[in-house]
Amino acid sequence: MSTLQNWIWNGIELSLPDEWEMLQFSRNPETGRCAFADRYQFRFELDWMRVDAPPDMERMANDYRAKLQNDGLESVTKTGHGQWLGASGLEKGVPISRYGAFFPGRAYILEAVFIWAKGERATPAFEGRILDSVKVPSPAPDGRQKWRSFGMDWTTASDLSFDSCVVSPGLAEATFNNRKRRVTQRFARRGMLSYWLKADVRQWLEAQIPKEYKVVSTESATEEGHEVWRLEAQRSPSVLVDWLHGQRTIRAAAWTCPEDGRLYFVASHAHQGKGEWPFATLSCCKKLEVKV
């Protein structure tokens, strides 16, 4: 089997074969799903749902098996691995294994679904290896959320919610906001630079700043073999809300990673002067973590 790649999404950590890519995802922390595929078909799905109290998993798994049988799952067999309880069988000729478990750290019920190819047989050892990698740690005491996906590792403050995520060929960008949108953080990774990047990184970074902002400082430094450009910009002229909450400021950084040749971008938009500056970091590889 190929090597495993680690993912962290919505506080859930797991390791999957590195040729499996996330093709579907939800941003909702209460209930949602991520689906992963190899080059030919969907292979794995992870569903989560937050519950108010620990469920009776044994009973839930029995009810679920009965429901699957009623829904047409053939050759249903009871399966399990550690705390995971489940069922496997054939859905329209496709071998499918479904496992469920409760994780008290975030009060999540998780369902892991393995979808095998027609003609393949489910391999419990492989499924067990993936299930063993699933971890749902309690929220960090320092209030930071860690995410790892689309080739990026990023950290954001826990009071920010996942506002949007754009994924297209050569582009992945995640945006987080707080409730009143006074803090916005963006994390992006862009590829195919030879195709579209016609300026240097500094010019590109400055072009990301909205027109109503004025760049007050730009600097570059070589960090772990990466030339990182950083800038700070302030809204100019200020508007009334800036007088109330502090100068609206953007701190941003951009660089290309020599390992994968992609352009990375992290930006934090907030009012400066009142309270701590919102924490944001982005890593492109194990060597470098950039904080803005």
Binding site: Q24, R33, A35, R39, F42, M60, S168, P169, G261
Partner: protein, 122 residues
């Protein structure tokens, strides 16, 4: 726990095994490594009669200008390469994941097929 979802059965093996070919009736006006210009005859739609045609004129030949990506794709659509092989070439050349390359290639192929420049052999 949730029920069965239809996408679990989505698979694109047959699409990846298909082979795109150029339309033999297309005329190549310009052919360099990073720019290709192709002309194809445009079938006159039944509704293109006056007064509609006064406002939306009918062009018997349409010319499609391909950028660097499109030109590369055009050159690979030689009837020899499958969609999967083309995706692998794009993935390697532009350092993309397989699905990133697949999305880019299939979107482009779809547009060129709709314009009559390419066809697909299954």
């Amino acid at each position: 726990m949730k029920g069965t979802t239809a996408h679990q059965y989505t698979e694109w093996r047959s699409m990846l095994a298909a082979t795109p070919v150029r339309n033999e009736a297309a005329t190549v006006e310009k052919d360099t490594e990073d720019a290709v210009s192709v002309s194809v005859r445009n079938k006159k739609p039944g509704y293109r009669f006056p007064p509609i045609s006064w406002f939306v004129p009918y062009k018997p030949v349409i010319t499609i200008e391909l950028d660097g990506l499109g030109s590369k794709l055009w050159h690979l659509c030689d009837g020899e390469h499958t969609v999967e092989q083309i995706c692998d070439i794009f993935s390697k050349e532009y350092n993309l994941t397989f699905h990133e390359a697949k999305t880019a290639v299939t979107d482009y192929l779809k547009r060129l097929i709709q314009r009559g420049v390419l066809a697909i052999m299954m």
